[in-house]
Symmetry: C2
Subunit: 389 residues, 2 copies
């Protein structure tokens, strides 16, 4: 087990009707906020009206910035930064899913920084301060509501890059599972895979003697799988939605990373896919993760056998453990299909044309490799894409 | 699943050599601290010297208050409050296990309060502020390093009472598993049972649809059980000590309570036992928990069957599920014996003489009952004690 530091100070306010606390909670930080959200869905559902009423009742002024798209763009982030500066705003309220929260986080680090906020995403600068961000979560997936991560896409060159800092953790996250009832099946399923991927990126580590966090992760995966099956059939099942929403937060707040070195190759490979084809991140992960697993499992049989037996209840084949490992991967892939996601590039009508470009653009954080569980060079990344065809 | 709020903002600094960060971490809060600890064990081990050096190197002055005993006493708490007031101290550094941390927490809420600090433990007053507390943990058990709980014994009448408040959460916890290498086997085992009990008090809930936290708790229990078996044979096994130490923190920081109503009857019943006989809390729990289970399981068969099959790997007996439940309880009791703990009052040379008095003194937080999973009246509490004979 590795030494670690862990601090996840986001206040979680979870359950039915909790969005009505947003005004009072926000008021603790500021009297004037940027209300940042996506499109019309929060207006159609009535959530927008409830938020605005709660803010007004608490005496909180707000300036609106709607228009966040999936794979949130740098252009809108810069617009938000400008709005905050011009209006003396010191608090960002994100109402939405991971895209809205990430856009809010980028605005929050950008406002006090005199340079170009993109510097934080290229690594050219280190963020030293940020405005506080509060969240009303509508879509469990990215785990951004309590995480230190933030992913933004620069329009020019479709560069999708992450910025990880303790400053990114929201001060509060209001989570009402009912708000996810109206999510379409495809978005629900993609969210489930994103949540599972956050766990699996940490589970597949070379660190041994991480039994406690291994077991917790296996338990969390099983719970998400079981509850996803319920939710796909019963979209208004409160309890199943609630289990997934809470699991989604913990999947990415680093608790399940304690003592370990995570991998995150699949996430980075997928970022190229969703940047190029504007694909839902979770759907891209449903394609990339199985391919990555098939590419790397042979050298790491023990961990894949553990994954197969403990998460997917595969009976251990003591004579041929490789069959056990492969059966685990197969069951995961079947599960992704069962909940309606693509598991091959061709399922998403994507051919091999873009592979060279995506491979070339993929960031290699270790210098010339990507990932920690298995270090992938550019040729390996191309091979993973090809296995996904 | 219940609505909930969750906020556990203690910064965890975990791993080998981390005690050397104590000076720098403390300095962020104060230049002058109360250094609170127990007896000579931290001097013998050299930990005291390392702490003092780190404080001096960081330019932090300290005033010492040693002498915390297991089942920490109100008298010393009052002494600490006086010392802090007289010396203008605004930070308490606890070096030790749950007793030292709890004593520190009580001092921390006592210093700014003009009345008697015991008021918080009787419920006569509500704490509004507290000094920050930092922790160097030597003994994984109570989970006090990140919890909101604090248990103190008033010498007069041997009243053992708890005070739970968000103000009690330490600002940092430095956790080096090596510091637990020298713990005697009995203390190690008692710590393991205290950790398991914190999980089980939350696991045995009437709340349904808490699959995620149920599964996490089962996973955590399994990991603690497995690693306890290693540690009892190999007291200097770093990884196994580390798994237990980290599991011990999460067992009591309320994460595993999210969405649930916990029970805590066994804890309260045990408090009377350890108050009267000055027994180690974890050892008392090894006696009380099996008795409580045998007393209540019949009306709650499903949860005990789940506990038996998932935690203790009991094969389900579909014809007679009661046998499955009882086998789970039996395996738990065997495990407690295996690690060297008493599982009956008579194993600790305690007869029935004190039962009437302990029953009478036991606090009934619900008015006339104790516990939530099953509500126990005084007669029930007496019956649990008698089942433990």
């Amino acid at each position: 087990m590795q030494n670690f530091e862990f601090l996840s100070p986001t206040k979680i306010i979870f359950g039915k009707g909790t969005e009505e606390k947003v005004g009072a909670e926000t008021k603790k930080y500021s009297d004037k906020v940027l209300l940042h959200y996506g499109g019309g869905s929060i207006k159609k559902s009535g959530l927008y009206d409830r938020i605005v009423k709660s803010l007004k009742d608490a005496g909180v002024e707000y300036i609106e910035l709607p228009g966040v798209l999936p794979n949130p763009r740098l252009g809108l982030v810069n617009e938000g930064i400008k709005l905050c500066r011009e209006n003396g705003i010191k608090f960002i309220l994100a109402v939405g899913g991971g895209s809205v929260i990430d856009s809010s986080k980028a605005i929050a680090v950008g406002v006090p920084y005199p340079g170009d906020v993109w510097d934080f995403f290229t690594g050219a600068a280190v963020a030293k301060e940020a405005l506080p961000v509060g969240v009303v979560l509508t879509f469990p997936a990215a785990g951004s509501e309590a995480s230190k991560s933030c992913v933004i896409t620069k329009e020019e060159g479709l560069l999708k890059r992450g910025h990880n800092t303790q400053l990114n953790r929201p001060v509060f996250a209001i989570m009402n599972p009912e708000l996810s009832f109206t999510l379409p099946p495809y978005q629900t399923a993609a969210g489930v895979v994103d949540i599972m991927a956050h766990m699996m990126e940490r589970y597949f580590t070379n660190e041994t003697y991480v039994d406690y966090t291994d077991r917790l992760t296996e338990a969390a995966l099983k719970s998400v799988i079981d509850n996803a099956r319920i939710v796909m059939k019963e979209p208004e099942n409160y309890n199943a939605r609630a289990e997934i929403m809470w699991a989604g937060t913990i999947a990415h707040n680093d608790f399940l990373e304690t003592g370990r070195i995570p991998d995150f190759a699949s996430h980075n490979i997928e970022h190229e896919l969703s940047a190029k084809y504007d694909m839902t991140h979770g759907a891209g992960l449903a394609i990339i993760f199985p391919a990555w697993m098939k590419y790397v499992y042979k050298g790491k049989l023990n961990k894949f056998v553990q994954f197969a037996t403990r998460v997917w209840n595969v009976d251990m084949n003591y004579d041929e453990p490789e069959r056990t490992a492969l059966e685990g991967i197969r069951r995961m892939e079947e599960f992704f299909k069962e909940i309606g996601l693509p598991v091959r590039l061709k399922d998403a009508d994507i051919g091999e044309d873009g592979i060279a470009e995506m491979t070339e653009k993929c960031k290699l954080p270790n210098g010339d490799t990507l990932g920690n569980f298995v270090r992938l060079n550019r040729k390996d990344i191309e091979n993973v894409f090809r296995l996904a065809l």
